[in-house]
């Protein structure tokens, strides 16, 4: 139906033919025709395979940007909450683009390079993010600042995720990746092709995001898939993996109306930024941090029985309406249902018993710490 309603044709990534060759079932996502599942492996198989071995996800629809110029830190710090001066060269951080009201315009991973900042943000926000970056860069340029925003449109993005990722990538790079910490990035040859490899991901597992020259992405991905431990996985598994890992989906769990404080993402606000501010909406956000303000909090909920989905109302033990579910699934790794929800602050403490309304009936739920599944990120020994 979405297809019929949309007038613009769906865009295809450079891996489209490879997806077709593997029997992908496609679904429209943010204007792209993206693989949901593959032939012979349902969403559940792909989810569990990623937790046990490794999967390759095509995430080429995401926006990759490079920010250059002497004033790049001053520029980007106006738009995001991270302390980019503290971030070491080669280091990556999760950050948030904010707006004047203290809401979240997008979430992003920023990597510090010697001469530039490498920024990856959501496909669904790509046009908005790029316009936002360019608008503010132009304003700063008019004041004489040296900054430039460049969309990276000649590289595709592939995520290799799961405990077998390191071994799979070592085979194609000849590197000892045990020494590469999680949330760092570097340039390296993968199967002989110069790529950017970032040790990060969206599954709660160890893994890498590879920015590969688009002309070579199909051949490099095929080389990754030669490893018997590595299989393709689609957006369906990506969503269930990230939810078990307690990671937000922009547009569902965070958006322009939720603040970092309400979303439980205060940890992304750098220490220096908390005293100095200087980002959009800093007055609102720093005020909320100081007063533990905001009326609601994002929480994890665990329940049994009928799974709660986005939009389901959350009730207190007494039946008072206290919030709403923003993402929910029967968690494949747990055999229970997990959900993210926004609830009134006084109901957000761990172990608070709540109820969720599902099809006119209520199921018992309890506020739980996230991630729901222990994170398996790489630690350098």
């Amino acid at each position: 139906m979405a297809r019929a309603m949309s007038t613009a044709p769906l865009r295809r990534t450079a891996l489209y033919d490879l997806h077709v060759a593997h029997g992908a079932k496609f679904a429209p996502f943010a204007g792209w025709d993206m693989p949901l599942v593959y032939d012979g492996q349902g969403a559940l198989d792909s989810h569990l395979h990623t937790r046990r071995h490794a999967s390759v996800f095509d995430v080429s629809h995401m926006l990759q940007t490079r920010i250059v110029g002497r004033d790049r830190h001053r520029f980007l710090e106006r738009l995001v909450v991270a302390d980019l001066k503290e971030l070491p060269v080669g280091g990556s951080t999760l950050s948030l683009f904010t707006n004047e009201n203290g809401g979240i315009e997008d979430d992003t991973i920023i990597t510090q390079h010697q001469d530039s900042l490498y920024v990856v943000s959501n496909a669904g926000c790509a046009d908005k993010d790029l316009a936002h970056l360019q608008h503010h860069a132009a304003a700063l340029q008019r004041e004489g600042a040296d900054v430039d925003v460049r969309r990276i449109d000649d590289h595709s993005l592939v995520a290799l995720q799961g405990p077998a990722s390191q071994a799979a990538l070592e085979r194609l790079t000849g590197l000892d990746l045990r020494q590469m910490p999680f949330m760092t990035g570097r340039v390296a040859d993968v199967a002989g092709i110069p790529c950017h490899i970032a040790r990060s991901g969206y599954t709660g597992e160890d893994g890498f995001e590879l920015s590969i020259p688009t002309a070579e992405v199909a051949s490099v991905t095929a080389r990754l898939l030669e490893d018997p431990a590595v299989k393709l996985a689609g957006l369906a598994a990506r969503d269930s993996l990230r939810l078990e890992a307690g990671l937000c989906l922009y547009g569902s769990d965070i958006d322009a109306t939720t603040t970092p404080v309400e979303a439980g993402l205060v940890w992304t606000v750098g220490k220096r930024r908390r005293s100095e501010g200087g980002f959009l909406g800093a007055d609102v956000i720093l005020g909320q941090i100081a007063s533990k303000g905001g009326l609601r909090r994002r929480v994890g909920l665990v329940s049994e029985g009928a799974p709660a989905r986005a939009g389901a109302r959350v009730l207190s033990a007494d039946g008072e309406d206290v919030g709403v579910v923003t993402s929910g699934i029967p968690a494949p790794s747990l055999g229970k249902n997990v959900a993210m929800a926004y609830v009134k602050k006084s109901f957000s403490k761990k172990d608070t018993p709540l109820k969720i309304k599902v099809r006119g009936r209520t199921v018992d739920a309890v506020v739980a710490k996230m991630p729901f599944v222990p994170a398996n990120y790489h630690k350098v020994q």
Partner: protein
């Protein structure tokens, strides 16, 4: 080939309403046998839905109509309401699929049946699709 198909269709219409399988636009199958309809989701529906991880079937004795959902079949990603295309009384429900949801993916149109309804209106049968009509419905995109 076309002539052959037509003849088959005529013949199965002749067997009438005592013993046949019909379909709904919302991807349920209905097997009619002596005033009782056995209902499940089609193989196309299970394949679109993916791995089924949660099922609710109606209580035996419940009065059902085509307007209200009577159960639910869920994958990790999505929820599908199940409707009874026939008005009547639930006379049996498949408890086995509730505990073994994989059965729906393995055998949606046989062992993965969901419930049986003793129907009160023969006229509702005319609203249902034949196998050929259902096949065309899927080929057209399957939206309902």
């Amino acid at each position: 080939m076309l002539a052959l198909l037509t003849r088959t269709a005529v013949r199965s219409a002749g067997v009438a309403r005592r013993h046949l399988t019909k379909y709904t636009k919302s991807h349920e199958w209905v097997k009619i046998d002596k005033g009782v309809g056995t209902i499940g989701i089609t193989d196309y529906a299970q394949s679109s839905l993916g791995d089924v991880v949660y099922v609710e079937v109606p209580e035996v004795g419940a009065e059902v109509t085509p307007e209200e959902p009577v159960g639910v079949v869920e994958s990790v990603k999505s929820t599908s309401d199940i409707f009874s295309p026939l008005t009547g009384t639930i006379v049996d429900a498949n408890k086995e699929v509730v505990g073994n949801t994989k059965l729906i993916n393995k055998a949606a149109e046989t062992d993965g049946w969901l419930f049986k309804v003793k129907f009160s209106s023969e006229a509702e049968l005319d609203e249902l699709l034949s196998a050929a009509e259902y096949k065309k419905h899927i080929a057209d995109g399957g939206d309902h």
